[in-house]
């Protein structure tokens, strides 16, 4: 009988190198073997050039936040408030709910919000985001962004996977496929959700598409187990769990000896990591060691499901080496009313977002973490009224919307892109594929080289487009 170590070594290096399915299992086994280079040596798991950053926190604002009410200050739009939108600007454009145009020609809508410049950089923010405005000098605005589809589902899919068709790998999956994760106890790609409902499109938004499933985003739940089935079942004590895992491991080892199937070694590694996840999970979600000051800054309340809690959890995740954290916050689809409903959602996200950026900065994590904030599209310069309401909202608009970024090697206090006076179009177009290319670039990945062969062709996140936004980078 071979010794345990010999058996595990039996899983030859070539076995791991010959496949690109290392994922978390491979990494676990690597550490089990006391050989951390194992996973890193996998060609698909290596940056193309030295990475500028380590982690990404992607704040996905689902529904399409109105850039006109938040960042993109347009005095001209105020001036023409209530005037019919110029036909020349509408010609050839397609919008969601176009049937409403037929009933009544759309009118331009100046914002009802107050705008001011903030910080040394003088970035514009409306009064809806007083907290984020305080970190203006850490923020880079990306305006005039255009995307490809004006319906929520396909548009969300596009921003996340680079394609409007469901079933392609998501950006977090591409990243962990490309460079893996530094966390040994947690998945490399974690998804957190808040808001009144799940994001449209569901699991496909963080799926692995045709990449091995180990790269898909793992949703952390806000109530109960952060990961499905993370806790031992009722009646299974720590002791029983340990004894069970040891027995499983011993029996699997003897099967490995008997058959020589390296897949068994991977499975043993997967069970090791599962156990580590079980033991590190509770500590991760326990905010007990966070100071009261921190909790207050975020507005986080232990045990509650909220965007604020998720922001704090995101920081804890990147502290623990998780590569890609994506937060979804829903309810930005303000067709009918840019008043109270928008107040509410801004209040939910404003303080925690600002706190996250400050907190990362204080802990010297901001420089290695890219925080990115944005939705699937923006909203029209024209107003929209529904059902003869006295309230007014805006329709979906895909030609000129706004993202912002902080940390992660972007040039703070700048605006790149730009929109025309009425906010219809971009003056220096930036496409969603460009944002994706830039994000990969910061992680040391060339978006044209990060490919996966499927159905006879090499696919990539940015399809056939995308260029790194150099002006954005410090």
């Amino acid at each position: 009988m071979k010794t345990e170590d010999e058996l595990l070594q039996f899983a030859t290096r070539r076995h791991f190198f010959s496949r690109c399915t290392v994922g978390v299992g491979g990494i676990a086994l690597a550490s089990l073997l006391g050989d951390n280079s194992l996973a890193a040596a996998e060609p698909a798991n290596q940056p193309h050039f030295p990475p500028r950053i380590k982690n990404v926190i992607y704040l996905f604002m689902a529904g399409g936040p109105s850039q006109f009410e938040l960042f993109d200050y347009k005095p001209k739009l105020q001036q023409f408030d209530g005037k019919a939108a110029p036909e020349s600007l509408l010609k050839g454009k397609r919008f969601a709910f176009m049937d409403t145009f037929a009933k009544e020609p759309p009118k331009l809508l100046g914002t009802r919000r107050e705008f001011k410049q903030h910080g040394k950089s003088g970035l514009y923010f409306s009064d809806l985001l007083p907290h984020i405005a305080t970190v203006a000098d850490d923020i880079a605005m990306v305006t005039g962004v255009n995307t490809d589809n004006f319906n929520h589902g396909p548009a969300k899919c596009f921003v996340n996977t680079g394609s409007t068709r469901f079933g392609r790998p998501s950006i977090g999956a591409w990243v962990t496929y490309g460079i893996g994760s530094e966390s040994k106890d947690l998945p490399g790609f974690v998804v957190l959700q808040s808001g009144p409902r799940g994001p449209r499109g569901g699991a496909a938004l963080w799926g692995s598409g045709f990449l091995p499933t180990g790269y898909q985003g793992v949703p952390f739940r806000s109530g109960g187990d952060p990961i499905l089935d993370l806790s031992s079942p009722l009646g299974v004590t720590d002791n029983t769990q340990m004894q069970s895992l040891e027995t499983i491991r011993d029996l699997n080892l003897s099967k490995l000896a008997e058959t020589g199937d390296p897949e068994i070694a991977t499975r043993i590694g997967a069970y090791e990591m599962a156990y580590r996840m079980q033991t590190s999970g509770p500590e991760l979600i326990d905010f007990g060691k966070e100071s009261r000051k921190t909790l207050q800054a975020y507005g986080a309340e232990p045990g509650k499901s909220s965007y604020a809690n998720n922001c704090l959890l995101a920081r804890r995740l990147v502290e623990r080496g998780v590569r890609f954290v994506q937060l979804y916050h829903t309810d930005w689809d303000h067709h009918a009313d840019l008043g109270q409903p928008l107040d509410n959602v801004c209040r939910e996200i404003d303080r925690p977002t600002a706190a996250l950026i400050k907190d990362l900065k204080e802990r010297n994590l901001l420089d290695q973490t890219l925080v990115i904030w944005g939705g699937e599209f923006g909203r029209t310069p024209m107003g929209e009224t529904r059902d003869k309401s006295s309230k007014i909202g805006r329709n979906h608009h895909i030609d000129a919307y706004t993202f912002f970024m902080a940390g992660g090697g972007v040039r703070p206090g700048t605006v790149v892109g730009g929109t025309d006076e009425l906010g219809f179009s971009s003056t220096d177009p930036i496409h969603v594929h460009d944002i994706q290319a830039t994000l990969l670039h910061q992680l040391g990945l060339d978006h044209t080289k990060l490919t996966f062969k499927f159905q006879g062709r090499n696919f990539r996140l940015t399809d056939v487009g995308g260029k790194v936004i150099d002006k954005l980078l410090a």
């Binding site: 969300k156 068709r165 449209r200 003897s254 159905q455």
Partner: protein
């Protein structure tokens, strides 16, 4: 040489007669529009091609320069401006105009060259090879082995010995039915010394109703079957009748050609049966978008494009979907040809506008049973009664004067009760059975090339047709003609692709490893002659799928051991030579089924509406629209995995984690991943605890009294074999520890044993299951539940060897 000179001479003379035209075309048009590149589908280097035109339509109308696209483009009078970013000189434009006005005479009648790639192996008809002669003929059980062994002998590699009997039986049972063998079946097989013992098992399994479930699920992957609409709303849909049709079709061994025809065009057969209509659900499994503010036509087009891509992947093993926006980059399939197949599939009576939103999912087939009909009627009558009564009550209430201390009218308890009753009734209203089908429009839609794949950019009109490299004769007409062509003896691909996919399920990968790409960039077959032999054999055996399964599983190649071979690590790491079988992790559904059989819980009912086995709390929290998941409490709790309701946007967690496809597009091969989240599922999910407890009870009641008897029996029902001494020793040690644990900690023991009630307090149909357990037996049951849990988590359990 002389001939060449003569040709040159003629060409030059013609050039003089039309001095400007050819140089203009050559310099300004042909760099992109030639027979090799065909940018936008257009070649301008032969008259034939020029007259045929490109994706936008004919380029030249002889005699009518004003109506010729070529002239409009170079004049840059419309949207199309050519050449890009420059303009011809006025005299050049004049020259072209005059040339077209004079009839666009071409200097040479050149014919278009054959398409590059047309000679690719997969586009030629399979030729029937003779099985090669081998030296070790004793090893050969059927012609498959001749092909495999001949190659092995050439490479001087020995095949592996036959797997042992237990492994063979478990392998066969899992491969053919997806269910592991029972202890009795194992005993019978081991006891049967007759030479055809193995064959008898094969035939028993192929005759089992579970065969259709096992192979049906493989086909449902290809058909992208799901129980919901997908996209953002992802509402539930009824199409399970199609799933059942697939299962039944396989069980009765419907010949594959008919299997294809009925699914693609069952509705167009003369006097189609209800069954043949149900079969057309195949192409209705596309996701459909119900989001507000959409253009329905856009998503109808999306669904048709998906049908083209799926037809390509499922039958032809080609990535035809790549030709949607431009000509295929590698295979000789043009964008025009994509839209020619599109034209076959573009004529279904589906919703295409906002006004039809109410009729979403049309066309459907009403399959209401008489009982359902009666129940619906009864419910309607009751509803009418309740509504009338409510109306009267409201009238009375309105007539009553309202005092200052009275509650507002809408808060009237009598009113609220009546409204609640009515609401409850509506909610309970019995469902009627329907299924989504294909139905042709009275007149076909106009189909055209979508420039750049954008349905709003209308190119040249196209009529139905198939890629020219795949057919020597034109194919046109409706879907039925498409279906017949797919299974025509002259089709080079369908039989090959189908047998290759069968092979893949038995050996982990196909003879052509890129099972969905037989094109120029696809893998070459490892055994081209065997592939063609199997393809021709398939047709010769009347497209019988069962016959092919029988052939493959009775080969010596299939019966080999799956032991890793150190001697092959260098020379054949990917097992291309097939010198051994392989170990494969069970698919998501089969893992569940295997646990259900082992624990004795399986409800072996075939077919019916999809079911809702329990899921962990919070598993449905990711969707936009909150979906109900009424966890089954009766027999439906223990149905096979393929009957689990599948929401595209929130797949049952135990499925996606174990690589079940997401049903967004046709899936011809599943990934087999190996992850910590899988470990967590089998270790901790209440489903496996529930199965484990049942297994523990089964061991206690069916096996002998000693620990060794019981452990051996536990091995038999979970792994299909007896325990080895070392395994027995290790598990005994664990059992003893667990017994101590639970005798001391009776609270934990009770919790473990009572688990199902913890997460579902509804009464079960199996009342006796829930009879109070004698407290004294609880620690022992808990200890055995722990043993069961360990067994479920063994690599051996979740692997087909």
């Amino acid at each position: 040489m002389a001939l060449k000179l003569a040709f040159l001479f003629v060409a030059v003379t013609r050039l003089y007669s039309q001095p400007g035209v050819l140089p203009i075309l050559k310099q300004s048009c042909q760099p992109c529009h030639n027979q090799r590149l065909r940018t936008s589908g257009l070649a301008l280097d032969s008259r034939e091609d020029m007259m045929a035109g490109g994706n936008r339509g004919p380029s030249v109308k002889p005699g009518l320069p004003g109506e010729s696209m070529l002239i409009q483009a170079v004049e840059q009078s419309g949207d199309l401006k050519m050449p890009p970013n420059s303009k011809l000189k006025p005299e050049q434009i004049a020259e072209l105009k005059q040339w077209v006005a004079e009839g666009a005479k071409w200097p040479e009648q050149t014919t278009a060259k054959p398409r590059p790639g047309a000679d690719h192996w997969a586009f030629q008809l399979p030729k029937r090879p003779t099985p090669p002669v081998v030296k070790t003929s004793a090893w050969v059980r059927n012609p498959i082995d001749n092909f495999i062994l001949a190659r092995l002998e050439r490479e001087a590699v020995k095949p592996s010995p036959e797997a042992d009997q237990n492994v063979l039986l478990r392998r066969l049972s899992l491969d053919l039915t997806g269910l592991p063998p029972s202890p009795k079946q194992i005993q019978d097989f081991l006891a049967d010394q007759s030479p055809d013992a193995y064959l008898k098992v094969v035939d028993r399994l192929l005759a089992s109703k579970h065969y259709g479930e096992r192979w049906g699920r493989h086909w449902l992957d290809v058909a992208r079957y799901a129980d919901s609409d997908g996209y953002t709303i992802d509402g539930p849909r009824q199409i399970w009748k199609y799933r059942d049709w697939v299962i039944n079709a396989l069980n009765r061994d419907l010949p594959f050609d008919q299997f294809v025809i009925e699914q693609i065009a069952g509705d167009l057969l003369p006097n189609p049966t209800q069954d043949q209509l149900v079969a057309t659900g195949f192409h209705r499994n596309t996701p459909s978008n119900f989001e507000g503010g959409i253009d329905f036509e856009q998503y109808r087009v999306e669904a048709v494009a998906d049908r083209v891509a799926t037809t390509g992947a499922a039958f032809l093993g080609l990535t035809i979907g790549c030709a949607r926006c431009h000509d295929h980059k590698f295979d000789p399939i043009s964008q025009r040809e994509f839209y020619q197949i599109f034209a076959f599939l573009n004529n279904t009576d589906e919703v295409g506008s906002e006004a039809e939103r109410y009729d979403f999912n049309r066309p459907i087939l009403d399959m209401t049973t008489p009982q359902e009909h009666a129940r619906v009627e009864a419910s309607r009558i009751q509803r009418t009664m309740l509504s009338r009564e409510l109306a009267e009550y409201v009238k009375k209430l309105a007539a009553k004067p309202i005092g200052p201390d009275d509650p507002p009218r809408f808060k009237d308890p009598g009113l609220q009760e009546r409204v609640a009753n009515l609401r409850a009734l509506v909610k309970r209203e019995p469902k009627i059975t329907t299924t989504m089908i294909m139905r042709e429009l009275p007149a076909p839609r106009e189909s055209y090339i979508h420039l750049g794949g954008d349905f709003l950019r209308r190119g040249a009109p196209v009529t139905a047709g198939v890629p020219s490299v795949l057919s020597s004769k034109p194919v046109s007409g409706n879907r039925l003609q498409l279906a017949k062509w797919l299974v025509d003896a002259e089709n080079p691909l369908t039989a090959r692709v189908t047998v290759n996919r069968m092979w893949q399920f038995y050996f982990g990968k196909g003879l052509v490893e890129s099972e969905n790409d037989f094109g120029l960039l696809g893998a070459k077959p490892t055994h081209p002659e065997l592939l063609d032999w199997l393809a021709t054999e398939f047709i010769a055996r009347g497209w019988s799928q069962k016959a092919m399964h029988r052939l493959i599983v009775t080969s010596a190649t299939y019966r080999q051991s799956s032991r890793h071979r150190k001697d092959l690590e260098e020379i054949d790491p990917n097992n291309n030579l097939l010198a051994h079988q392989i170990r494969m992790r069970l698919e998501a559904e089969i893992l569940r089924d295997t646990a259900l059989v082992s624990s004795g819980l399986l409800t072996p009912v075939v077919g019916g509406p999809s079911v809702y086995p329990p899921i962990p709390e919070g598993a449905m929290a990711v969707t936009q629209v909150k979906r109900e998941w009424p966890a089954a409490v009766g027999k439906d709790r223990y149905r096979r995995g393929l009957y689990t309701f599948f929401y595209r946007s929130a797949p049952y967690p135990g499925m996606g984690l174990f690589d079940a496809p997401d049903a967004t597009a046709s899936c011809t091969r599943r990934v087999r991943s190996n992850s910590p989240l899988q470990a967590l599922t089998i270790l901790n999910d209440q489903t496996y605890i529930e199965f484990g407890r049942a297994l523990a009870k089964r061991i206690q009641s069916e096996a002998g009294a000693t620990d060794a008897d019981r452990l051996n029996y536990a091995f038999l029902v979970t792994l299909g074999r007896k325990a080895k001494p070392a395994e027995l020793e290790r598990l005994t040690r664990f059992l003893v520890l667990q017994r101590d644990e639970f005798r001391t900690d009776t609270t934990s023991a009770s919790l473990l044993v009572m688990t199902p009630q913890v997460f579902d307090s509804s009464p079960t149909e199996n009342e006796e299951e829930e009879v109070a357990i004698d407290p004294k037996t609880i620690p022992e049951l808990a200890a055995w539940t722990s043993v069961a849990r360990v067994l479920f988590n063994l690599d051996d359990f979740m692997t087909r060897e």
